[in-house]
Symmetry: C2
Subunit: 200 residues, 2 copies
Amino acid sequence: MADPIDFYFDFSSPFGYFAATRLPGIAERHGRDIVWRPILLGLAFKITGVTALPLTPLKGDYARIDMERISRLWKIPFNVPSKLPIASQAPARITYWLESHKPDKKVPAIMALFHAFFVEDRDISDPEVAADVVASVSVNRDALLAATQAPEMKKRAHSETEAAIERGVFGSPFFIVDGEPFWGSDRLEQVDKWLETGGF
Amino acid sequence: MADPIDFYFDFSSPFGYFAATRLPGIAERHGRDIVWRPILLGLAFKITGVTALPLTPLKGDYARIDMERISRLWKIPFNVPSKLPIASQAPARITYWLESHKPDKKVPAIMALFHAFFVEDRDISDPEVAADVVASVSVNRDALLAATQAPEMKKRAHSETEAAIERGVFGSPFFIVDGEPFWGSDRLEQVDKWLETGGF
């Protein structure tokens, strides 16, 4: 089987959420697996000098229009969270803990976390909230809460981000397909075409 | 007739060039005129705190891959200029001078300037080069050279940029369609759909 698609995203990124709803269909159509890799975008911003989109003058106002418009166009349930951006350590650490301990729960947990934040406006940066959300996909809540504080999970979320930056990742969503980098949910059609044609 | 599409771009922007090659077909299909408005993006960057794309760590390297890939996908002649970004005052001032004095030469001049910079790697930030390029579409070269230094054209390029920022413009290309803002050549399909449906 061909190599999987590396899918990097930050749980605080609306465009990461949009991509998470569409990438699986594209990957499946081309017989590819996806490696889901939550990252801590703040670490990349230290290198690029970029400010989080919602906090950038002019751009932040436009981004809100743009994300709401895309959600309508793609028919994705979406409400701009009352707090944006948020710190994404807790959901990232939970995701990597699941990868090691309950791998079949990893993707359902990611989708539940995205839904809680971008549809129900629940603040998943709070470890208690993140644990509640993921407990709903049948994982033990205490284990999840412990994962948000576990030193090895703190280290893991960091090292995954550093490895991503090493590969040139600086934004969310970011896809690497057979070595080719694509940034942004608006590049999904190119990803689709790349998978179909093997490059253009 | 319906209102024209406001098309804002910086002559130093590869994605502005890509948009310039595709927007006319979209506008024509929907019976819309285009108002072509070169701006000086550096003034907007002072407000957003954004660094020019090619100079941003990580993002700049990706941008080069992205622009070359788009040029191949859309089959647009393109070579990454040896100097990028450049100051775009000279071509902007020439464009506004043509708008007032030779309006039928304005769009051919814009396309000739983009082609000179993004295909032939000629440095159109140099007033002499910009005047040479636009002289090729049958405008008097001395008048063009004078326009690059004329106080009223300096003022005009500035005030057009300030008016654009006032409307929320912060990047290139930027389109405003019946009051709706769209940023990026990757939003042209949405512009097309917006014109077709009247909004979504």
